[in-house]
C-alpha cells in the first residue's frame, strides 16, 4: 500500500476547542488514525514527525508578530491547508478587541504591559497565507471536520453547506423562535453547521458559525493520489 497521507494540527491564538473537536470524535478517532498518519499534533502527542505534511489543520488567529512569521512556515510545509474555527477563519472572538484600543486592553489585563508583544489586531489565517478551505464555527462541528478530512481523502467536495442556519432549523422541524416567540435570532444571516442548536434549545442563534455564504469556494487539491486511490 502506498504511504498514508500525513496530518498536522497547528495552533495559533485560540481556546483549543477546535482541536479538541478532533479528540472529541471518540467513535472515529481510531479510524482517522487509520486513514492518516497523525504526524504533528502537540495537544495529543509528543511525537513529532517532520514535514512536509499532506494536510494541515490550523486553529487560531494571528495576534503576534512571531505568529505572523510562523504561519508562513506552516504554509510552506503543508500541501493542503485547512483553517478551522472562527479564530482561524475570521479572527475569532479575540477579534472583538479590534474594536477596543489595544493599549486599553493590555493595561486592563496585564499589570506590566511592556512585556507583551502583540499585533494590533487578531486576523484570520487567510489574511496571511493562501488557505485551501475554511471551516467555520466556534467551535467547529466535529461531523464537519470529519467530513472535510474524508472529502479530501476521497477527492470530493466536502458537504459543508454555506446556506443559513434557518435551513437546518427547518429541516430539524424546530419552530422558529423569532416568529413564534419574538426572540432575536441571527440564524438567517449565519452559516449552517451547528444543526440549529440554539433554536432547538429555545434561544436565538448568536452566530457561532459566522456569516453565511462567505466560505471560499476554493477546491482543495485532492489527497486521493496520496492515498493510493
Amino acid at each position: 500500500m502506498t504511504r498514508k497521507p500525513t496530518l498536522a494540527v497547528w495552533k495559533f491564538s485560540s481556546c483549543d476547542g477546535c482541536q479538541l473537536s478532533l479528540l472529541d470524535c471518540e467513535d472515529e478517532l481510531l479510524a482517522v488514525a487509520g486513514a492518516v498518519e497523525i504526524a504533528y499534533f502537540l495537544e495529543a502527542s509528543s511525537a513529532v514527525a517532520r514535514g512536509p505534511y499532506d494536510l494541515s489543520l490550523v486553529e487560531g488567529s494571528i495576534t503576534t508578530p512571531h505568529d505572523a512569521e510562523r504561519i508562513h512556515q506552516v504554509r510552506r510545509v503543508s500541501k493542503t491547508l485547512v483553517s478551522i474555527g472562527a479564530c482561524a477563519t475570521t479572527g475569532g472572538i479575540q477579534a472583538l478587541r479590534s474594536a477596543h484600543r489595544l493599549g486599553d486592553l493590555v493595561s486592563a489585563v496585564y499589570a506590566r504591559p511592556e512585556y507583551i508583544s502583540t499585533l494590533r489586531t487578531s486576523t484570520a489565517i487567510a489574511d496571511h497565507v493562501p488557505v485551501d478551505f475554511e471551516l467555520q464555527g466556534c467551535p467547529i462541528a466535529k461531523a464537519q471536520l470529519l467530513e472535510v478530512v474524508g472529502a479530501l481523502l476521497a477527492g470530493r467536495r466536502a458537504n459543508v453547506p454555506t446556506y443559513s442556519v434557518c435551513v437546518e432549523c427547518k429541516r430539524a422541524g424546530v419552530p422558529c423562535v423569532l416568529v413564534s416567540r419574538g426572540l432575536p435570532c441571527l440564524g438567517p444571516a449565519t452559516q449552517a453547521g451547528c444543526g440549529a442548536l440554539c433554536p432547538s434549545y429555545g434561544r436565538g442563534c448568536f452566530g457561532c458559525f459566522g456569516p453565511k455564504e462567505q466560505a471560499s469556494d476554493v477546491e482543495a487539491p485532492s489527497l486521493a493520489s496520496a492515498f493510493g486511490r
Partner: protein, 270 residues
Amino acid sequence: MAPLPYVVARKRRETRDVWTLELEPVDEAIEQIRPGQFTMLYRFGVGEAPISSSGDPELGFRLVHTMREAGQVTRGLCAAKPGDLVGVRGPFGNAWPVDTARGKDVVFVAGGIGLPPLRGAVYDVLAHRNGFGRVVLLYGGRSPGELVFRSDVERWRSRLDVDVEVTVDTAGHDWRGNVGVVTKLIPRAPFDPANAVAFVVGPEIMMRFAAAALIERGLPQESLWISMERTMRCGVGLCGHCQLGPTLICRDGPVYRWDEMRPWLEVAAL
C-alpha cells in the same frame, strides 16, 4: 434511482483536460442512449455529474462520454483507468431532432466542449448521408490545444460531402486555420438558410451570438436547436436545480428549439 455499474473499457485523452471514456455495462445496461441525451455519471465516493453522450448511436449498449475536468467529479471520472468502475444513470433528457432535418441542409455549430454532445448527431447524419442536403460543421475553440476529436474532424474534413471549418480564438504561428470566434464562420458557410436545420452547442453567450448570425442569414427560428446546461442533482426533474423559466432542463431539454428558449435567455440571472 441508483447508478448501474459500468466498466471503463477504453479511455482516450482529447486535450490537456478533456478525456473520452468508453463504458460497458458490468451486468444490466441502461436503455439505448440517443444523441443529445445525457447520463449521470457517478465516480465512487466523489459524486455525480451530467455528461452528454458523445458516441456513435450505432454503438449499441457501449456508452461514450467526453468530459472536461471542471471540478471534483469530472476530475475523478477523468482519472478513472480502464477496468475501473463508474456508476451510470440514464439515459435522460431529449435527443437532437435529427429527423426534422431530413431532406434539408444540416449545420452543426460547436464551441469548445460543445462538440461532444453534437458528435453522435453528426455520426447519425453521416450514416444516413443521402437523406440530407449539404452538411456543414463549424467548430471553434479557444486555442488549437483545446480542440477535441481532431481525428474525427480531420476525417470529416477530408470527405467531399461535408464542409468543415475550424477556428480558434488565439493561435501561435504553427496554426494555419481560421482565427476568430466561431460565429464569424456563419455568414460564409455553404448552406441554404431557407432550407436548413442548425444544431448549436457551446457556452450560452456563444449560442446566442451563433443564433443571431444564423437568423441574420435567414434561418427560420424554428429550424434552430440548441442544448442547454444548468446544475443538475437528479437528472429526472425532481430536484428543481435545472429550472429555467417554464422548463426543467433535464426533463424538457437539454435540447430546445431556439424560439422556445430565447425569451428566457434574454433575462439575466433567471
